[in-house]
């Protein structure tokens, strides 16, 4: 869709041939110049909006958007899943959930493998982000901008971290 209009052409075409005198055309073009300015601004805005609307929070789209914006040549920005924290829920006996056992270090686990259980503080730490936006070290100064860009698309219930690698 063409949103940029050359109002000079439009106006000249609207003037009957016998009135197409340079001065008359010029004064009408002056009248339209303000509208031409508005149209130019409008056109730039439409292109920006249409570009923005092409993207969303899907990994493939978000990755393309970020690379287009910040690493257009090498395209090193990637998105990876956050690791799911190993949340341990405690149940009442009446809920009949499978029991969960904690062992001393000296005890051999039933499956014979090391299976330590970690307790985390209730603050953002490893494993608390839904996904990571990985950017190369060279772009580390742009981390806050990347975060802002991702926030434009990030679903309300998802957390992410811009990870400089």
């Amino acid at each position: 869709m063409i949103f940029n209009v050359n109002f000079s052409n439009v106006i000249n075409n609207l003037i009957p041939g016998f009135l197409r005198k340079p001065k008359f055309q010029a004064i009408l073009n002056v009248f339209a110049s303000a509208l031409q300015y508005v149209n130019n601004e409008f056109y730039a805005e439409t292109q920006s909006v249409f570009y923005y609307l092409k993207f969303n929070a899907q990994v493939i789209y978000l990755t393309k958007y970020l690379n287009d914006q910040y690493d257009n040549v090498q395209r090193r920005i990637s998105i990876s899943d956050g690791s799911t924290p190993n949340v341990i829920y405690l149940y009442n006996e009446s809920e009949a959930a499978a029991p969960f056992y904690l062992y001393n270090e000296s005890e051999t686990l039933p499956n014979g493998t090391a299976n330590p259980v970690y307790f985390y503080n209730n603050v953002p730490s490893i494993g608390t982000y839904d996904y990571y936006v990985n950017i190369p070290l060279e772009l580390s100064t742009l981390a806050s901008q990347v975060k802002g860009a991702v926030n434009q698309f990030n679903p309300a219930n998802k957390t992410f971290y811009v990870n400089v690698i």
């Binding site: 869709m1 609207l14 009957p16 009135l19 009408l28 509208l35 899907q58 990994v59 698309f153 679903p155």
Partner: protein, 307 residues
């Protein structure tokens, strides 16, 4: 909504009339300014020049207002097609997966450059949500009728596809496993005028067939049709013993049906007795069922003539 040229033109005239020092200019509001303007322009009227100026500017403004309408309509169209991220959207998108093709950017969206229906391998897909993780059950049709798991290579490609199309931060598991197996035993009471059964030879291959058409086995067909319907129409639906019993009951020549064994299992697990489960309902792990080949239907049905 863009104003019409006449509306804009007349608004300008109205504005002009608020200036007393322009009262000598006499263009007035017009229902059709373009038509009257054409008439005036061919006359010697000096006023026509002013009206032309008004008209030209009105057209220019009208063009611009119209562009706003078009822009708004385009934006609304794009928004209405926005990715909803619902479970139904995931199912539809996963079913569109083409094995062997990569999504490519066409300038406005990621698409398959070639639509190849033969490359579509996810024929069944159901998604359930468990603690924030999408459990995506998939299966493919072999020979157009039998569901089976995707190949390892297909599953790997599918996982990569989902990694790309999913909403960032969404956790998912792809459950791509062989059908849950069903072990059944039924006692059916049949009408001996319709169903063939050789009571002196329980292994007669024609036992259970229609007398009028020995190639048709109503009970076996009813069971297989029920399972096929459950698999393909209600993929990941609940298997209910009463539904299977009803399906057999409805078979031609069958007067009464009693389920004696209905066991089901997932993978290499142990068989679970569905008859003893509350509601006699079984939720498949793979999303679909098949008769265990170790317990074929030929030995699963006990026929008793209805006297």
């Amino acid at each position: 909504m863009a104003r019409t040229i006449a509306t804009i033109y007349n608004a300008m005239i109205t504005e002009k009339e608020t200036f007393s020092n322009l009262s000598n200019l006499s263009p007035t509001a017009q229902a059709n300014p373009a038509q009257s303007l054409l008439t005036d322009l061919t006359s010697t009227s000096k006023v026509a020049i002013w009206r032309l100026i008004f008209y030209v500017i009105a057209v220019a403004i009208w063009i611009h207002e119209s562009l706003w309408d078009i822009f708004l309509a385009n934006v609304q169209t794009i928004i209405s097609n926005a990715i909803p991220g619902t479970l139904q959207w995931y199912v539809a998108t996963i079913k569109a997966f083409q094995y062997g093709y990569a999504l490519t950017w066409n300038g406005s969206t990621f698409v398959y450059s070639t639509i190849d229906s033969t490359a579509i391998c996810v024929n069944q897909c159901a998604i359930t949500l468990s603690e924030g993780t999408l459990n995506i059950r998939v299966a493919t049709l072999a020979g157009g009728t039998i569901l089976q798991p995707l190949s390892v290579a297909q599953e790997t490609a599918l996982i990569e596809y989902i990694q790309n199309i999913k909403i960032a931060g969404t956790q998912f598991n792809v459950i791509n496993q062989a059908a849950d197996l069903l072990q059944i035993a039924y006692t059916v009471y049949y009408n001996p005028l319709i169903i063939y059964y050789n009571s002196s030879n329980g292994s007669d291959p024609l036992n259970g067939s229609l007398i009028s058409n020995p190639s048709v086995f109503p009970v076996n067909n009813a069971i297989l049709n029920y399972i096929q319907t459950l698999d393909q129409i209600f993929f990941n639906g609940n298997f209910q013993v009463s539904d299977l019993t009803d399906a057999i009951q409805a078979a031609e020549g069958i007067t009464n049906v009693v389920a004696t064994t209905v066991n089901a299992k997932s993978g290499s697990g142990a068989y679970q007795n569905i008859l003893s489960v509350t509601g006699q309902i079984y939720q498949t792990a793979a999303g679909y069922l098949a008769i265990d080949p170790a317990y074929p239907l030929s030995s699963a049905i006990t026929y008793i003539a209805n006297q």
